[in-house]
């Protein structure tokens, strides 16, 4: 028992150490992310002192970019399932060794989600009121209490799955199936649940006709399964570029098919929504009017939503063309899809729900500088976490960070000089020459 704990602590210590080691590009990247995170932290400290008045929000538009980013990132987290399903249900070979990068992205995305909700709270010092048993947890009535449960549950599931598999790999032993396969399958359903619950957060509000629509849940899933895998396509190429970890083009193209189908469904659902809103022409169309064409001379969101639609439709067309089999075009398409969905689902969903107010007043919303800095800070922090996770996971998966080489000098950030293909047996790992 003591030995096991010591082993585990030693494993954590080595993982932690390696996060601080890398080549100059690694230091530059981490340095920039750290600086942006700290700038965000500074902006948040300002908000803690002065209140949410430093944001662009008010009683009319009482949720803004924080909740918009939160909603988008829940989708990114849920999208890990789009790698898990092919691997664990359809035994996809190409994605098999990559699925963990999707799950780690989910962990980083959930961390960002939790940060975005926290910065949106007026009284973060009272967070403990939300903790079941010691606080007053309004479960199951409040959809927000469901969200707290499913998000934290999803975080734990993914931390467990990734942590366990990496630890086994570190020891070069076969993971016990019963100890992670059930969790993988729970996580598949759980992933769908986190985004459905987040959709219900909006759908459940009868006083907001723009959100009170059954299609919001399906739209959330479709857009999540577009933007999430698109982000993973980009992330995998970065990993391949800087670490020589074996990532095949075929794997990227498998993800491309997922993005393709999801984007088609996403645009189809958008058309459904737009038709329902505008054709019937009843009063509930006010928010949609504000979003798409402007209302009573107010049209702050109109250029945004049309940019989003333009990006999404172009991405959809590109995805359907053989052109996007070339990685250059695929990357461009992915960037367009991510941006399009970020706008559509964030600002395009959260903000117009508040405009006009239930009493018919049109007050527009623009995020303030301070609010924007907090958002950048959280994104940078999330990327920082994801980079650290990858920094630990890649050498473990490659077998370079293993129990077997514990006593030897720690590896440095010299991935480039090590041959691309690695034998899996730790005793055959090329270790850096001892000085």
């Amino acid at each position: 028992m003591i030995a096991a704990t010591r082993n585990y602590l030693r494993f954590l210590w080595r993982c932690g150490r390696i996060a601080f080691v890398g080549d100059w590009r690694y230091y530059a990247w981490m340095g920039v992310l750290t600086i942006v995170s700290l700038v965000g932290l500074h902006a948040y400290s300002r908000q803690l002192v002065d209140g949410l008045v430093v944001t662009g929000m008010g009683d009319e538009v009482s949720w803004g970019v924080y909740i918009a980013n939160f909603t988008f990132l829940v989708g990114v987290a849920a999208a890990a399932v789009m790698m898990v399903i092919p691997v664990y249900i359809y035994d996809n070979e190409e994605l098999h060794d990559l699925v963990i990068f999707g799950e780690l992205l989910a962990v980083a995305a959930i961390i960002m989600c939790l940060a975005f909700v926290t910065v949106d709270l007026g009284r973060p010092d009272r967070f403990w009121h939300l903790i079941p048993v010691i606080g007053q947890f309004n479960f199951p009535a409040s959809m927000l209490s469901w969200d707290v449960l499913v998000l934290n549950g999803y975080l734990l599931l993914n931390v467990h799955i990734c942590g366990y598999l990496l630890y086994c790999r570190y020891h070069d032993r076969k993971p016990a199936r019963w100890f992670y396969i059930p969790f993988v399958f729970i996580a598949i359903f759980w992933a769908v649940s986190i985004h459905t619950v987040t959709a219900f957060l909006y759908v459940g509000l009868g006083g907001r006709p723009f959100w009170n629509s059954a299609i919001v849940g399906p739209r959330f899933l479709a857009s999540a399964f577009t933007a999430g895998p698109a982000l993973i396509i980009l992330a995998l190429q970065v990993i391949r570029h800087v670490t020589h970890y074996r990532i095949t083009d075929k794997a990227l193209l498998t993800l491309r098919s997922i993005v393709q189908v999801s984007m088609l469904i996403n645009v189809f659902l958008l058309i459904n929504e737009v038709f329902k809103e505008f054709y019937s022409g009843n009063h509930h169309v006010a928010s949609a009017k504000y979003l798409f064409i402007g209302l009573h001379g107010h049209h702050a969101l109109v250029p945004w939503i049309w940019t989003a639609i333009g990006l999404n439709v172009t991405a959809m067309v590109l995805l359907c063309l053989p052109l996007s089999r070339s990685l250059k075009w695929l990357n461009l398409t992915c960037v367009m899809a991510i941006l399009g969905i970020w706008i559509e689902k964030g600002m395009g969903l959260v903000v117009p729900g508040f405009i006009p107010t239930p009493l018919g007043e049109v007050i527009e919303y623009t995020p303030s500088l301070n609010e924007t800095l907090v958002c950048f800070g959280i994104w940078a922090f999330g990327l920082l976490c994801y980079t650290i996770f990858l920094r630990m996971a890649v050498p473990i998966l490659q077998g370079r960070l293993a129990k077997a080489n514990e006593g030897r000098p720690e590896i440095q950030g010299d991935e480039q000089e090590i041959p691309a293909a690695f034998p899996s047996k730790p005793d055959r790992i090329p270790t850096p020459t001892a000085h």
Binding site: D59, L121, Q136, G207, H283, G360
Partner: protein, 315 residues
């Protein structure tokens, strides 16, 4: 003349080691400095949550003794902040009472006296301005709020061709706000008033998004309340000064109505458009109105919220 021997590249040499540890400690030090600098605005936190307040229990779980201590703490805090010793009570709902508000749209002239009486009575923030009552100016014949003018500035009211619709918390029987609160910080009391525990609210603003009447107000900034304007007659669930980052709204002047008085908005109304009372008492004015008037309406009845706030018309 001879060139000095090249520095050995051996990384384990003393020089390389000390250079490395120097770099490390410099990096760690500058990291900590940057962290401290980014947290620097926190030095301005003057109204930091006290341990007592941080650990304060939920309203419904406070024993009478604990409540006494909490009320004393609030009195002390208000006195320290505003220099006025208030009288803070925790008034409980009366048995056999369910409050209902009736507002006569034929009479209302849109003078907004109710708005300002409410601000004064309930210690509402003057800067930034928070108001519980919003009076809508509507064109003759339409109850469509999207046609309403909110910030009308007429020299004289009423204006011809318009009528006025004051909206405040509708004290719903089936409140959307209560259902969504993740921490039970807002609930409906037995006398029908939906209240907020300002010391329990976490400030997520979900209730504000849920309310179909736009009745809730959030303290985005620290409430600006001039000491000379303080109303010292306070209650825990009512008009005691709020803190930064919590929700508030109309509570039918709980500090008055639970002590047998009328709400401030009713008392100030120059045309007698506002009626308030106990619907469980068949002899009350509100019972009479709801029994005898041919038409009365609940705003957005289709929401299923079933407001305790009724609008009615004279002939």
């Amino acid at each position: 003349m001879a060139t000095p021997p090249p520095v050995p590249s051996d990384k384990t040499s003393d020089r390389a080691l000390s250079r490395r540890s120097f770099l490390r400690s410099t990096a760690a030090l500058s990291g900590l400095t940057a962290l401290a600098a980014s947290l620097s605005p926190l030095r301005e936190l003057d109204d930091f949550t006290s341990t007592e307040q941080f650990l304060q229990k939920y309203y419904k779980e406070l024993t009478p003794e604990e409540m006494t201590r909490v009320l004393a703490r609030i009195e002390k805090e208000v006195e320290r902040q505003y220099g006025i010793r208030p009288h803070v009570r925790d008034l409980r709902p009366m048995d056999g009472v369910e409050f209902v508000y009736c507002l006569n749209l034929t009479r209302c002239i849109g003078c907004r006296k109710c708005v300002h009486a409410c601000v004064a009575e309930n210690n509402l923030s003057r800067d930034p301005e928070i108001q519980y009552i919003r009076v809508l100016k509507l064109p003759h014949g339409s109850l469509d709020v999207e046609k309403a003018e909110h910030k009308y500035t007429a020299d004289q009211v009423p204006e011809k061709g318009f009528f006025y619709l004051p909206v405040q918390c509708q004290q719903c029987r089936n409140p959307a706000c209560v259902k969504v609160c993740p921490v039970h910080a807002t609930w409906q009391e037995s006398d029908g008033i939906t209240v907020i525990d300002y010391d329990w609210c976490i400030g997520c603003r979900y209730c504000e998004a849920a309310c179909p009447y736009w009745a809730r107000r959030f303290n985005f900034a620290k409430p600006g309340l001039p000491a000379e304007r303080i109303n010292p007659d306070m209650s825990y669930l009512g008009n005691r000064p709020r803190k930064l980052g919590v929700m508030e709204k109309c509570h039918f002047c709980i500090q008055r109505t639970r002590a047998g008085r009328y709400p401030a908005c009713l008392e100030v109304c120059p045309v007698g458009a506002r009626k308030f009372g106990n619907i469980l008492d068949p002899n009350s004015e509100v019972s009479y109105i709801l029994r005898e008037k041919r038409v009365f309406i609940q705003l957005k009845e289709e929401m299923g919220t079933s407001p305790r706030f009724f609008y009615y018309f004279d002939k």
